[in-house]
């Protein structure tokens, strides 16, 4: 604890960088994955699934340093890390989003169509709200793993919370590593709590009167 109090402002700065690295992948990756899960045509699904599950298996550090060869970004710095984390977010969220949409009962969709809803209205007013619980649980997985994976970005020169691991190890300061572990965990849990609250706010019918419908 002493180490943390003596270096609180330093840690806060790293945490801020960490957040800024994480926010784009989580938001953009989720939007892309949700849109993709709804828009990819049925005959493309097996191919997309194969590619995404292969991408998901790639170790993050390997992807960070392979991207410069593929798209010409600089080896050192945050660009690759943000792109790679977005790719992982898409790969993970695509499957959750497909599951979430497939759990919307087809009778409900038929009813909505019979009421004269257009496909867009059906998506916005029926499918999306009904898929919220599944989407939120997918987002919780994505946000937690993105926050913890982002730490590896420190190896390619991003000064985020992962820097505490590298520096703490090189200078033999266990407190520094523990501070990093706790800080990453706290940020991940904050995302988790926020998403849980968002899920509750978006599905008031599930909790009305303490009774789950």
């Amino acid at each position: 604890m002493e180490w943390f109090f003596a270096n609180a402002s330093f840690v806060a700065g790293l945490a801020l960088t960490h957040l800024s690295i994480v926010i784009i992948p989580v938001v953009l990756g989720s939007i892309l994955a949700i849109a993709g899960a709804r828009l990819v045509r049925a005959r493309w699904v097996p191919g997309t699934t194969t590619v995404l599950s292969a991408v998901y298996a790639i170790p993050s550090l390997a992807l960070f340093v392979a991207l410069p060869a593929l798209i010409g970004t600089p080896f050192i710095g945050p660009t690759n890390v943000v792109i790679a984390l977005t790719v992982y977010a898409v790969a993970s969220m695509f499957f959750s989003a497909r599951d979430a949409f497939s759990q919307v009962p087809s009778s409900t969709k038929t009813t909505a169509t019979a009421l004269g809803m257009s496909r867009f209205q059906l998506f916005v007013h029926v499918e999306l709200p009904m898929a919220v619980p599944g989407l939120i649980s997918g987002l919780r997985v994505v946000s937690a793993s993105t926050v913890s994976m982002a730490a590896i970005g420190a190896v390619v020169g991003v000064r985020n919370l992962g820097y505490l691991f590298l520096d703490g190890f090189q200078r033999r300061i266990p407190e520094e590593i523990v501070t990093g572990l706790v800080a990453v965990f706290v940020i991940a849990m904050a995302f988790d709590l926020g998403l849980w609250l968002l899920g509750r706010a978006l599905t008031p019918w599930r909790t009305r009167g303490g009774e789950r419908v």
């Binding site: 550090l61 992807l63 392979a66 410069p68 060869a69 266990p174």
Partner: protein, 224 residues
């Protein structure tokens, strides 16, 4: 800086394939560490997962471990253990950290495999007079294998990608080329190593996925 022809030249040079830090040795080391960690994790996770699935008690442990472990950066865990137990014991620390990473997905796969068996099957095994152990050994474990292999696949992905970080604590594996290459700004070495890592991880994960699907098909197909 970096070009495809440099990369091809790097791969073509036999110096980069042989010796203690050549690709062959590092590849072997990477695979050996990964398998050892998975084995260690399986020794712990399989019996515990089967017991939790069998008794239905302790589900919170499976779910809690799963969500907590996602939020713990593997890199920090590895570094903390190596520092805690000293650099001399770093091989052991690496193995323990990797097993700790592999246990939650294995536990989840085993648990899910047992609990998704239709109740009718588990009840009829009981009605036949099978003891608890017999039910686990001859009914629940065999029927859970496909899900267990699925757990192995997730664990494999996590472990393989953490082994890439091992050179940061002075250990080997294919990450060596990335860490050394970054330090020396030898980007051909960095990209070449990352490509080898990417290929073996995708192959391993696809292989496990294939075995999992085959097992699932075999379990669901009626007997010939």
């Amino acid at each position: 800086m970096f070009s495809i022809s440099d990369l091809a030249a790097w791969f073509a040079d036999p110096v980069h394939w042989d010796g203690r830090y050549g690709l062959w040795f590092l590849l072997l080391e990477h695979v050996a560490i990964t398998l050892a960690a998975l084995l260690l994790a399986a020794i712990v996770a399989l019996p515990v997962g089967l017991a939790i699935g069998h008794t239905g008690r302790g589900e919170f442990l499976v779910i809690g471990l799963g969500s907590i472990s996602r939020a713990v950066p593997m890199m920090g865990l590895l570094f903390a253990l190596v520092l805690l137990w000293g650099v001399q014991l770093r091989d052991f620390s690496l193995l323990v950290a990797l097993a700790a990473i592999a246990i939650p997905p294995l536990l989840a796969g085993t648990f899910a495999g047992v609990t998704t068996i239709p109740w009718g099957i588990r009840d009829s095994a009981k009605a036949q007079g099978m003891t608890g152990f017999q039910r686990i050994r001859y009914v629940e474990f065999p029927l859970a294998t496909s899900s267990i292999i699925g757990g192995f696949r997730i664990a494999f992905i996590q472990v393989v990608s953490t082994v890439v970080l091992a050179p940061l604590v002075g250990l080997g594996g294919l990450g060596f080329g990335i860490i050394q290459g970054l330090a020396l700004r030898n980007y051909s070495q960095v990209v070449a190593s990352s490509l080898v890592i990417i290929v073996i991880t995708i192959l391993g994960s696809e292989l496990l996925g294939f075995v999992q699907r085959r097992t699932a098909d075999r379990l669901s197909a009626p007997h010939p």
